[in-house]
């Protein structure tokens, strides 16, 4: 799975990707080609590069250098297509040769700007060999054509063509073109041995763009490098899309601390208390970590999993004519199948079996949890159901801060009345706050009072 594919499915991932200030199309390509990675050493290597970039940027003078590098990056083209042609042995035209020369000169400029940046993974190979092939006059300018300097014969033919009478011109122009073609062939033959060097330089330039963008964004937004362990543990985990939205409204996001083991975790809590966001935060952080990003938490420890399996509200099958229950149960089936194969997954299920009657719903939750507890995956399930009997780790969102004076609140500032932190819960009962919340929101009083009578 590439980042490009994953970000289509997970909006928050796409959000973080778009927040990065990537300046070149090749930086963006390299970023989006990042693979979901289960190799610890590869990930640690990426984290080390990001950390080096962060260190480099901590100096003001270096930030100025980065500005210059970025001005170059913004003008760079992704010459992937041209490189493919070169590698396949095709003779390139002037435009493609110009692209290679332009890239080589600009990449060398980046190399010299970053001369004191000590990070071996981001050192661009020397491209002087490439430049000299395409710069017979030694001017080091960002220009290219089949120079007269390549061939005396061509220079003479061109002169003859220019001075010829109109009726002889076409024939002479054709002769010039043929000579030019021969020179292009020779140039491509000379460039061919440099194809790997160039390909690597393209990758490195893209990585420079990508890693500096990451480092800058991660420092500014309090992301940190995760450690890999056999437990999930976040201190001050946040959810960047919501952090940004709230800060635009002048509000603050309340970060969450959470620790999870392979014992399935059941999260309860009032409506609107952030259970879904908790699941989405866990999903996002796990994906980010395994795509080689830092994670939005002060401290993070997590295991490497094969995939993050979710059932969080976005049931596409409903469009295919399945009922909401039908589509949910098929997703759950898919999860069970995968988990039973024995690989380690992160399973996140929002309000398991909420789409059916409570009696059977509770039974399904019980059964789902008991199956998962036999396998090595990590799982978090949220629920509104009381009476789940199966042994599991239970967490509850603290929820509403009740205050007597507050009669009614608007949806907009509801969040300031909620404590989103998690506490361990020993009971099987879930909080009954649906009616209290409805009352706070100023819902029709008859609806609420009648409901209360029915409860009695």
């Amino acid at each position: 799975m590439t980042l490009k594919q994953a970000k289509e499915k997970v909006k928050a991932l796409s959000f973080v990707v778009e927040e990065l200030n990537i300046y070149s199309s090749l930086g963006r390509r390299i970023l989006l080609e990042s693979q979901f990675c289960t190799d610890k050493s590869l990930l640690l290597q990426r984290y080390a590069i990001i950390a080096k970039c962060e260190g480099y940027l901590s100096l003001g003078a270096n930030r100025k250098t980065l500005k210059k590098v970025r001005a170059i990056l913004a003008c760079l083209h992704d010459i992937k297509g041209t490189m493919k042609q070169l590698a396949s042995g095709v003779t390139l035209d002037d435009i493609s040769l110009f692209e290679i020369k332009f890239f080589a000169i600009e990449a060398s400029r980046i190399k010299s700007l970053l001369f004191d940046f000590d990070c071996s993974d981001l050192v661009i190979d020397d491209l002087e060999g490439v430049i000299s092939i395409l710069d017979p006059e030694g001017l080091h300018l960002n220009q290219f054509y089949i120079y007269n300097a390549y061939s005396k014969e061509l220079a003479q033919k061109r002169k003859a063509w220019e001075e010829a009478q109109e009726d002889k011109k076409e024939a002479l122009y054709l002769q010039c073109s043929e000579l030019e073609d021969t020179i292009r062939q020779e140039l491509c033959q000379k460039l061919f041995p440099y194809k790997d060097t160039l390909e690597k330089a393209i990758q490195t330039v893209g990585k420079i763009d990508m890693f500096f963008a990451m480092a800058e964004y991660f420092s500014a937004n309090g992301f940190s490098a995760p450690e890999f362990t056999q437990e999930i543990s976040y201190s001050q985990l946040t959810y960047p899309p919501l952090v940004k939205k709230l800060s635009e409204e002048g509000k603050q996001y309340q970060p969450i601390d959470i620790c999870l083991t392979q014992t399935p975790t059941l999260v309860s809590g009032a409506n609107m208390a952030g259970k879904t966001i908790l699941l989405k935060s866990l999903q996002l952080a796990q994906l980010l970590a395994q795509f080689g990003f830092f994670v939005p938490a002060k401290q993070a420890q997590l295991p490497l999993v094969c995939d993050v399996l979710t059932s969080i509200g976005d049931r596409q099958n409903e469009d295919e004519g399945l009922s909401s229950y039908g589509s949910e149960i098929l997703i759950l089936n898919d999860i069970i199948k995968k988990v039973k194969q024995g690989n380690q997954y992160l399973v996140l299920v929002d309000e398991l079996a909420r789409t059916t009657n409570p009696k059977e719903g509770v039974a399904l939750v019980d059964s789902f949890i008991s199956i998962l507890s036999n396998y090595c995956s990590f799982s978090v399930i949220t629920t509104h159901y009381s009476g789940i009997k199966t042994k599991c780790y239970r967490l509850r969102v603290r929820g509403f801060i009740h205050s007597k004076e507050q009669k009614s609140v608007s949806i907009a500032d509801l969040s300031s009345h909620i404590d989103y932190s998690l506490i361990e819960d020993k009971e099987e009962r879930v909080p009954n706050e649906a009616l209290n919340i409805a009352e706070l929101l100023g819902v029709d009083s008859e609806l609420i009072s009648k409901a209360r009578e029915f409860i009695k």
């Binding site: 435009i95 290219f144 054509y145």
Partner: protein, 339 residues
């Protein structure tokens, strides 16, 4: 050497044809040929969309390629660049694509022929012109699109040369009327510079201009629904700024108002007039006013008395009929080739 001296006063000029085969490209070639004697001026050359093709795609008549001198900067699409008959040094490539590939910025090393095709929209064209100036061009010539007047906007190029001719209509009278109307619109009065600076960045909506030159948004989403907002339209006076285009519907609505002679419509420039000559003139004759934020410098008009479908006018008759309506230099480039 007609009108060449006028050309040298500007940094950018667009060549606009009122119809295909009115001789726009010939005019451009003529100007390029004459400019080459001013060796100290660096010429830049580009075009709008696909133009300069060897054969006219619609009528299949031969179209001249554009001949340029050594040292000319030109910008054309990749696909057309490859068809050049010239030695040229590539200086830059655009990141964006046209239908015929990216734009190639190049400088000619020899004299020869190029095919031009350029940016496909006005915003991009503006950027291309600016880039050409920064690459050293003193004067940028833009081979404009046919009958797409918007590319002749003074917000893009400082001046314009217009080509007209028999291809526009089989009737001499119609050719004169249509050409004279374009000329007339380029001569609309310009508002004062203080107000102009307030209006030049407004891109949507209709506004009232009060006596103190305060700009008030009338909150009318589109002139296409003008009847619905009749009451709002004159709520702040009779001086209006229409940021988009003006159409027959708007003009005839305004003309039928009782205080028509007090109404002034301000538009960005002459390219925003989409109303017909008849409706526009009726409005103006009734005393209504149309002014522009930015005036166009129409340098000259060139004519081609031949139409691709066979009929033609007498060159002198066409020129003198136009000259009666238009006090500008008017030339038949083909006849004047030796001037």
């Amino acid at each position: 050497m007609p009108f060449i001296k006028d050309i040298l006063r500007y940094k950018s000029i667009s060549f606009v044809g009122l119809e295909k085969n009115t001789g726009k490209t010939q005019t451009l070639n003529y100007v390029l040929d004459r400019l080459c004697s001013f060796s100290n001026i660096k010429i830049g050359l580009t075009s709008i969309g696909i133009d300069g093709e060897k054969e006219d795609q619609v009528t299949l008549t031969a179209k001249p390629q554009i001949t340029i001198d050594p040292g000319t900067l030109f910008v054309t699409a990749e696909g057309l660049y490859r068809q050049k008959e010239i030695v040229a040094n590539i200086l830059n490539l655009s990141q964006r694509q046209t239908a015929l590939g990216r734009l190639v910025f190049a400088r000619s090393e020899t004299k020869g022929k190029v095919l031009l095709g350029g940016a496909g929209n006005t915003a991009w064209l503006k950027e291309v012109i600016a880039q050409m100036h920064s690459l050293g061009a003193d004067l940028v010539l833009v081979d404009g699109a046919l009958s797409r007047m918007s590319f002749g906007s003074p917000s893009i190029t400082q001046a314009m040369i217009l080509s007209t001719g028999a291809a526009l209509s089989a009737s001499l009278k119609t050719v004169v009327k249509k050409t004279a109307f374009v000329y007339q619109m380029t001569q609309l009065p310009q508002i004062d510079s203080e107000l102009a600076s307030k209006l030049s960045d407004i891109d949507s909506g209709i506004y009232a201009i009060t006596q103190d030159e305060e700009v008030i948004d009338l909150d009318i989403p589109s002139i296409l629904m003008i009847e619905r907002y009749k009451d709002k339209l004159f709520s702040q006076g009779k001086r209006l700024f229409v940021s988009g285009i003006i159409t027959d519907k708007l003009i005839s609505f305004l003309r039928t108002q009782k205080d028509c002679q007090q109404i002034e419509i301000i538009i960005k420039d002459f390219t925003r007039v989409f109303s017909s000559p008849e409706q526009t003139n009726m409005f103006l004759q009734k005393g209504g006013k149309i002014s522009v934020v930015q005036r166009t410098n129409l340098i000259a008009i060139t004519v081609n008395p031949f139409s691709p479908t066979g009929y033609n006018f007498k060159s002198q008759e066409l020129i003198s009929s136009l000259q009666q309506e238009i006090p500008l230099p008017i030339y038949n480039i083909k006849e004047n080739a030796d001037l």
